[in-house]
Every structure is written in C-alpha cells, then in structure tokens.
Symmetry: C2
Subunit: 77 residues, 2 copies
C-alpha cells in the first residue's frame, strides 16, 4: 500500500555527512503531512525529492539531546 506523503522543509540546519552518491544526512526543520514542523534527522538526495527513514524530534527532545551531547566525553568512543 502506498500512501501519499507531503513535506515542507522549512530550514536545513546542517549536514552531518555526505555519501558518495551525493545523499546528505541532514538536520532539518520539516513539516510532514501538513502537521507542525519538527526537527528531523535523515538522509536526503541532493534536490530533497527522496529521503530515507529517519527520526523526528520535538523542540524539547532536541534541547535534551543538545544537553546530553555536551555532557558526553567523546574521547571514550
């Protein structure tokens, strides 16, 4: 079953990486199916017409993530 998905990328906030095929793993602020925008982590093709699965985060969740990342000792990893 195919479902029609609509989305509007309001802001591209940054690229985490670029794959050899040009797809970028990006943090965006995106509205899915006309719902309120959320922060969104997933890979996109260069013109943002195709994407992988990913994860959406509320403002509260992404601020928590920011705090968590700032507390991690990355030298351990």
């Amino acid at each position: 079953m195919a479902a029609k998905i609509t989305y509007t990328i309001q802001d591209v906030l940054g690229d985490l990486s670029v794959a050899a095929n040009g797809w970028k793993k990006e943090l965006t602020y995106t509205s899915w199916n006309n719902r309120d925008e959320k922060f969104d982590l997933r890979s996109w093709n260069p013109d943002h017409s195709a994407m992988t699965k990913g994860i959406t985060l509320t403002k509260e969740e992404i601020l928590k993530l920011k705090d968590i990342l700032n507390d991690i000792d990355f030298d351990k990893y």
Copy 2:
C-alpha cells in the same frame, strides 16, 4: 520476511523523552548485528527488548550534530 536482528546496547547515554506507555526515546551506543558500535537514536521499551526504527550516527556525524545544535538559535523555533 523476518530477519534475525541482534544488538548489544553498550551505553545508554541519555533519555530524550518518555512516552505514556513507558517507551523512551534514547541516545545509546549500540552494536547492531555484531558490527562496530554506533551512536543510535530511537525509542525503546522499558527492558530494551523492543524498539522503533531510528537512526544511527558515526562518531564523526554525532560530533558534527553537536556543533550544529550549539550554533542554532532555538528561540526561533
């Protein structure tokens, strides 16, 4: 088709949110199918026996994400 998935959560680095059903959206450091550990964002049930789809990030990607988050003016969102 069902595929056998194995995983080892080495570290739970933090909780982003907790749903009413007890599932938590977590940042973990997890090995999937005996591959090297990656940073991982997804929701898990309380005993980590079930999970949603999510996204895995390399160390390089998560350090880039940290920099991006520290540069965002969240008052805009």
